[in-house]
Symmetry: C2
Subunit: 348 residues, 2 copies
DNA sequence: CTGAAAGCGCTTACAG
DNA sequence: CTGAAAGCGCTTACAG
């Protein structure tokens, strides 16, 4: 393959045809693995392709055929554990299917006006190919809604209240179950109730995590405190933790993600309350560093990378109209008990 | 703007021309802001564009003009703090210039064979547009080397031994200075020497971080221990920390990144050594959670997001042949002293 | 200031 | 099994 001889004007299908002594049409057949080409002809064409260092232009392909083997991911964030892992999963799967992956960050996770988001969706759509929208936050939800009819799109969403219809290709993790499990774990340790610091919700509705937490409390007949609104990062957890630290009645706190939990633990420590001696804290996600914190963090592991792979798989099946199409929730969340949770103070 | 009326076959420049009663050539002039168009004509065309919901096809544009307003980022990783932040910076800057951003993850950060990496570079090049290669690791370095002559590319590299020539558009942070500062900080606290846990290097040469550390030791006349080889994540730090924990002579450890530091601290804690009471630990990068750890982490803040923005800016100036072209190192690293560093045990 | 032609590198029918 | 035509939606000269 002639890599070094790269020049401005790239070698085209016609150049190959000339070199091989065939029409460019035949070259097209060869590069598309069309069955009806005489083996000897194919050989000659392949040799010419190799010698000339021909690479088929994906933009010409896209223009002529309308297909594009590309996916663009629309997301409000690329660095938080969940988002980053989903992106990683999508990229992995896309690469395996030789799809190009583009990425567009949605502005103003909170106060974005609809027009701005719609414009970004349009820009992404212009690229051609399919769309995957991470709709864990208001900007993402708006983006998903703004996707024009007829454009191939898969949404990565919070657990929907009820499974969407077959025409709605969505994927999600079972956040409700995860929160339920984590809450039950804390309750089983003897805590009277469990407080909750929430990540920002994608909608005004009660999030799946919040509702799983509430259900566990309800089933146990435990008091149901109001959820505390947090942010995505540790600073929000720190602010919430400062408030909890003054209240001796608080002995167990579930957090909407591990970063929040980190902030809560830090705040409790600053106020002289020990974890888990005085207060138990559990997170959500199992970020890479959570096992190495002191105390190491009890959390619920969610397979975001797998979720990303599923999202791509679903989109792929839509784009290539093969295989089955339908929503498929992914792996079951797994409770990981570590040092940050234990019995409440004075527990028998 | 007609967003809802999206159909399979999109409206083209000719449709607009017909609607406006002009030739499609004139429409082309309008959408390219060409000066010589009569204002009244322009108005009519603009109205037609708006009414029909016309969007110029970027793939047709790319095919016809050869330009593509796209950048693809080649990287071995998308989730570690530094990588993710650079990507974020690139995306920000690209979006501001309405460039599309693609991403390709390089396989096998360590043992990748050259052919595989070269193929990935080719695939990225096929997309058209420019390339930004994050060359912090062997796969990235190989990718940068495999970029064919004549393709617009910017490398994000470790501090080069000497500034590259003007034809090598590279950006970097001053890692050498950063490591030097951090080491001097620990030395100034009274430690006899400072040990170092390294991140994997991009080459066999001594990395900039390692060399800054060594220089500070040398200048202070301190013993120069061998650097310990770590990985990118906390697990590598944990392994290194376990080894250090047994050696009472070790009182200060500098780590190649914050995750490594987290692992080291955890290991020391497991072995009953307190931080910073018995051992001081400093990290590198100032990841978002580092301020909220207990103890909070002394580290050196590096502006990776700014670095990403610079990388894009440089590529942009190469692609559009405007403005100045040349390597520009970015902001100065900033030492952030927190709780994890202090005087050695028994220090006056 | 505006239009008619040729072409970017491919594919999709249509012929043979 | 293989070729000649038309076209994807735009741009870049060339005309006027």
């Amino acid at each position: 393959m002639n890599v070094t001889g790269h020049t401005r004007r790239s070698v085209s299908i016609r150049d190959v045809a000339t070199a091989a002594g065939v029409s460019y049409q035949t070259v097209s057949r060869v590069i598309n693995a069309h069955p009806s080409v005489k083996p000897s002809t194919r050989e000659r064409v392949l040799a010419a392709i190799d010698e000339l260092g021909f690479r088929r232009s994906s933009t010409a392909l896209a223009l002529a055929s309308g297909r594009s083997r590309a996916v663009t991911v629309l997301t409000a964030n690329t660095t938080h554990h969940g988002y980053a892992s989903i992106l990683q999963g999508i990229e992995e799967a896309a690469r395996a299917s030789s799809y190009a992956v583009g990425i567009g960050v949605l502005e103003s996770p909170d106060g974005a006006d609809g027009a701005e988001v719609a414009a970004q969706v349009q820009r992404a759509a212009d690229t051609g190919g399919g769309l995957i929208v991470i709709a864990y936050d208001p900007a993402g939800v708006r983006a998903l809604e703004a996707v024009p009819e007829g454009l191939p799109v898969v949404g990565v969403v919070e657990t929907p209240a009820r499974p969407p219809g077959g025409d709605r290709p969505w994927v999600w993790t079972d956040d409700r179950e995860a929160a339920y499990e984590a809450t039950r774990h804390l309750l089983s340790l003897g805590h009277e109730t469990v407080h909750y610091v929430a990540i920002p919700s994608s909608t005004r509705r009660t999030s799946a995590r919040t509702s799983g937490w509430q259900q566990a409390l309800k089933e146990a007949g435990a008091p149901q405190p109001r959820p505390v609104q947090g942010s995505w990062g540790p600073a929000g957890g720190h602010a919430a933790g400062l408030r909890f630290a003054g209240d001796r009645a608080v002995t167990a706190i579930l957090c909407g993600n591990d970063d929040l939990a980190l902030g809560v633990i830090r705040a409790l420590h600053e106020k002289g309350r020990s974890v888990p001696g005085d207060v138990s804290v559990a997170g959500f996600d199992d970020a890479p560093h959570s096992a190495f914190l002191t105390p190491s963090l009890t959390t619920v592991r969610l397979d975001f990378t797998g979720l990303g792979r599923s999202a791509f798989g679903l989109l792929h099946s839509v784009l290539e109209e093969s295989a089955q199409v339908g929503p498929h929730p992914v792996s079951v969340p797994e409770l990981v008990v570590r040092e940050s949770s234990g019995p409440p103070p004075g527990h028998a």
